[in-house]
Amino acid sequence: MAESVVKARPGLLDLSAASLADLPRLDEAALEAAVDRLIQPCDGVDDATTVISGHVRIWQNYRTER
């Protein structure tokens, strides 16, 4: 693969310089898709332990005895 962009699905909208005044004009479908992409896959990647529950996307460094 050349210096191409690796992007399997529509990704993270670049809103880093967006103004709060303009955000309401953001297309509803684009926003929903971006939010769903951020939140949905996390359920499958949840690595929480019983110590910390109720949160997805937490990776606890679980140490086994040495």
Binding site: L13, L26, D27, L31, N61
Partner: protein
């Protein structure tokens, strides 16, 4: 707004702009080669994520929230909007905070859930960010700040103890361009814009270290109402404990900047806060990272600089991969089977192996460099840790390579890690250290198989039905 963002907006007729990682970027990150530029792009992407989620919170509140919640959001957003016009960098830094990231996703998830709606005080925490922005930009405004357990918390600045007599759950914040006044019933407290003080004011603790031309500044977040909930055993910071953290960070940062330059560079560009926790059991450190509270790590006070440096290296890799996954989808399935994770006693989803593999890949490299550094630790310990963790990652990657749950980008990332790991595995290790590592790994796997009923010869994979 920049052209790139305009394209995402209605009426422009163009495709939205996205954060992107090239093949070269993914290869560099999978190889543990961090540059300031690449780390900066990950940080910017995380800012975008939080801004996106804030807009989602606003819209979800309009759809399903009460009038009170909508009013709270609107008033706080207005103050932030005005602050953004005069000093956009100040607002961007607030939005990029892990405090903000966790708040915004918690609120969004609860608003979407509909069964566990966020309370007005939870949503009202946005006003606390707005108050900080108002103080920093010297904006005249009025906000209502939630009072939780008698405390008004101002992110990154500190907390105000409201006298118990008031009994109110909200305090008024009036800023006049020179500072602010916080009012609760008959009680009021001045809050100068520069450096607040007074007996009701407790500034946020922070620790700073500088070495080899690199500086890191970390707040110790023991009282943020959202971040502190992540700690399994909260650990209030006292002046003495803050001093211990400072001392530990100073010596750790010296070690990281001297022998682990790339990691130190990355940490300086990503990490802004530590959420202190107590150990759950004596001698068993607690360390964790949340992709939502990006920029923070949860830690119990490490016993020494090597433990601290190893933990920061491990958690830094989680932060990096969390940002990569926010930009580029590496795993394309929501559910998958369970398998053996060499660092866990329980069966883990194969998808979770990627995060663990990357974190321990960083740890393996850390111990290899330590074994070459030859200071502060016996060479044999460093070599044994290196051998153990590199073998762990090799085992995990063998579960991931060829897995159909990976996207093309995921295969590229895992493949590059495997290539890089092959080089690590060829590193010479003293026979006693290698033997020690193999014995520990072998015992762990055997114990895991006994506990989890893995009976398939030559395979550690658990049947899906057992999930």
């Amino acid at each position: 707004m920049a052209e790139l963002q305009n394209r995402a907006l209605k009426g422009t007729g163009s495709e939205p702009g996205f954060h992107q990682l090239t093949r070269a970027d993914l290869i560099a990150l999978a190889s543990g080669k961090f540059t300031g530029s690449l780390i900066g792009r990950l940080r910017t992407a995380e800012l975008s994520k939080n801004v996106l989620l804030l807009e989602a919170v606003r819209r979800e509140a309009v759809r399903s929230g009460s009038d009170e919640i909508i009013a709270i959001i609107d008033s706080a957003r207005e103050v932030l909007r005005v602050a953004q016009i005069s000093q956009p960098g100040i607002v961007a830094r607030l939005f990029a905070l892990p405090h903000f990231g966790l708040w915004v996703v918690e609120c969004l998830m609860r608003l979407k859930n509909r069964t566990e709606q966020p309370g007005a005080a939870d949503i009202g925490h946005l006003a606390a960010f707005a108050a900080v922005a108002a103080l920093r930009t010297r904006q005249q405004c009025h906000l209502r700040l939630p009072v939780r357990d008698g405390v008004v918390y101002l992110p990154t600045l500190g907390r105000i103890t409201v006298p118990s007599g008031s009994g109110l759950s909200w305090a008024d914040f009036f800023s006049d361009g020179h500072g602010a006044t916080v009012v609760s019933g008959a009680w009021k407290m001045p809050l100068p814009a520069g450096s607040p003080s007074g007996r009701n004011w407790m500034p946020a603790y922070s620790v700073t270290a500088r070495s080899q031309g690199l500086e890191i500044r970390l707040s110790l977040e023991d009282s943020d109402p959202f971040l502190s909930q992540l700690a399994p055993s909260p650990c209030p910071i006292s002046p003495g404990l803050a001093q211990e953290w400072q001392q530990r960070l100073t010596e750790t940062w010296e070690l990281l900047t001297r022998y682990h330059r790339d990691v130190a560079l990355g940490l300086a560009g990503t990490l802004t806060a530590i959420i202190p926790s107590s150990e759950l059991e004596r001698g068993q450190p607690v360390t964790a990272t949340s992709g939502w509270a990006w920029g923070s790590v949860l830690l119990s006070l490490p016993p020494d600089k090597l433990s601290f440096a190893e933990a920061l290296t491990h958690e830094f890799h989680h932060l990096v991969l969390a940002a990569v996954e926010d930009i580029t989808t590496l795993i394309g399935v929501a559910h998958d089977d369970l398998c053996y994770a060499p660092w866990r006693d329980d069966p883990r989803p194969r998808s979770a192996l990627l995060q663990g593999s990357y974190a321990f890949f960083g740890v393996a490299e850390f111990w290899l460099r330590q074994s070459h550094a030859g200071v502060c630790v016996s060479r044999q310990k460093a070599q044994a840790e290196f051998a153990r963790r590199s073998e762990n990652v090799a085992d995990a990657l063998s579960e991931l390579r060829g897995w159909t749950g990976l996207t093309a980008a995921g295969h590229l990332f895992v493949g590059q890690m495997a290539d890089q790991l092959a080089g690590l595995l060829a590193e010479p290790v003293d026979p006693p250290a290698r033997a020690m590592a193999r014995q520990v790994n072998s015992e762990h796997r055997a114990q895991w198989l006994r506990a989890n009923g893995g009976t398939v010869a030559g395979s550690s994979t658990m049947p899906t039905a057992k999930r």
